[in-house]
């Protein structure tokens, strides 16, 4: 495990990890002093690659930025490194605690991705509705990831990529992340299915042509698995074979 995680240092500084791997790596970084120094060096080098990209920005950009800055409050410095949240009243439960750290890191990355995605939606739709939706979704994703009973499991997807699920029985909700799957055609879409004794029920359809996304699944119920299939854009009412991956959510 250790060597495997260290091998991610290069991809990490290049921002070439998916959300889950990044979370795992950052959790490891917090416990590994050697890595921290190593990463700092690699980062300095990586940032130099930006030197190869000079391009004069549009002239109005500076005024826009300065105007935004003049009405934006800065963050307080006192909250620096709030990651190690004390986990009081929890008896020694190494696995659970480790997961909480992972969940905290995962939360940051997933929430950032979701916020970015929703920021796009926001332009397309009614701004206020979308903002409410964004906030609600981000809050629910955060709640699932931070839940004390959250369970994490991941499986490879046939053809490539990974399907990862974080589920909380107490919240009856889950967060499912599909990452780096094979790029579907523009008129196909990945669809997620909640599978219980009664059969599969759609748990969400990804945007057509998307090879990955983060999906909040409400009402997990008695489902044992989340399955993944490729469907026509917009999704189907029943899964089309083959099932590309199933990840347990119990």
């Amino acid at each position: 495990m250790s060597d495997e995680i260290h091998a991610l240092a290069g991809p990490y500084v290049l921002d070439a990890l998916d959300d889950i791997e990044r979370a795992a790596f950052e959790r490891h970084l917090r416990e590994c002093e050697v890595c921290t120094a190593d990463i700092a060096e690699l980062r300095e080098t990586t940032a130099r690659l930006a030197d190869g990209t000079w391009s004069v920005p549009p002239p109005q950009m500076k005024d826009t930025v300065l105007a935004q800055v003049s009405r934006t409050r800065q963050m307080s410095p006192s909250l620096r490194a709030p990651r190690e949240r004390p986990h009081q009243a929890t008896p020694a439960r190494p696995a659970g605690r480790r997961f909480t750290a992972a969940a905290a890191a995962l939360l940051l990355t997933v929430a950032a991705g979701v916020a970015g995605y929703l920021a796009q939606e926001q332009r397309a739709r009614n701004a206020e509705v979308a903002a409410d939706l964004a906030e609600r979704r981000a809050t629910e994703i955060q709640a699932v990831l931070a839940a004390p009973d959250a369970q994490l499991s991941g499986v490879p997807v046939d053809g490539g990529g990974r399907l990862t699920a974080v589920t909380s029985a107490s919240l009856d909700a889950g967060v499912v992340v599909l990452a780096d799957a094979v790029l579907p055609d523009a008129d196909s879409a990945y669809q997620l299915w909640l599978i219980d004794d009664g059969g599969p029920v759609s748990a969400g359809v990804l945007p057509a042509g998307a090879a990955g996304d983060t999906v909040l699944v409400e009402e997990v119920g008695d489902a044992q698995m989340v399955g993944l299939t490729l469907e026509p854009a917009g999704g189907s009412t029943a899964p089309t074979d083959p099932v590309l991956a199933t990840v347990p959510v119990t």
């Binding site: 290069g10 991809p11 991705g113």
Partner: protein
Amino acid sequence: MRARDDRGSPRRAKHLAPAPEAPSDQASRLLHAVARGDEAAFAQLYDLVAPRVYGLARRVLRDPAQAEEVAQEVFLEVWRTATRYDPCRSSATTWVFTIAHRRAVDRVRSEQAGADRLRRVATPEPAPHDHVVEQVTARLEQEQVRRCLTELTDLQREAITLAYYAGYTYREAAQLLGVALATIKTRMRDGLARLRDCMNVEVRA
């Protein structure tokens, strides 16, 4: 780790002696002032790094309008979080470009998950040429980066370029280059190590 937090170290002073103030020191000084809410310092910091923040966003996203949006987000984040910048962990410019790259990559992944990303790499374009005049110092720095990149093996260079300039994950890069995941991870890592050596040599010369 090098003592990059004591900016007046003899090592640095020696290498960069002729400059009245090394740009990296200037950035650090300005960022500290920004952390105290100094908007004038922020404007100066903007001038210092904006061509690279915008250029990086543009390189990753290709679309000038999106690049501008992302660059604006980056500057707002720099302003908001300058209070939490930790000089022990990275130099000021590295901190800014790390934010910029992350934002650009986040945008490309959330928005361009479709086929056009594959197409962009399948037909590799030369580095985009801007119709604007580039500053002389900028060109020198670019040349150093370009020259150091050419000293890498093909696979190292392709792996780093796909990840950094095109925003691909290492899994995507491995798929595009037809190599094993373990190989791509290693090539990214040792390619960066080689770049570091190349760039350090330049500084000492």
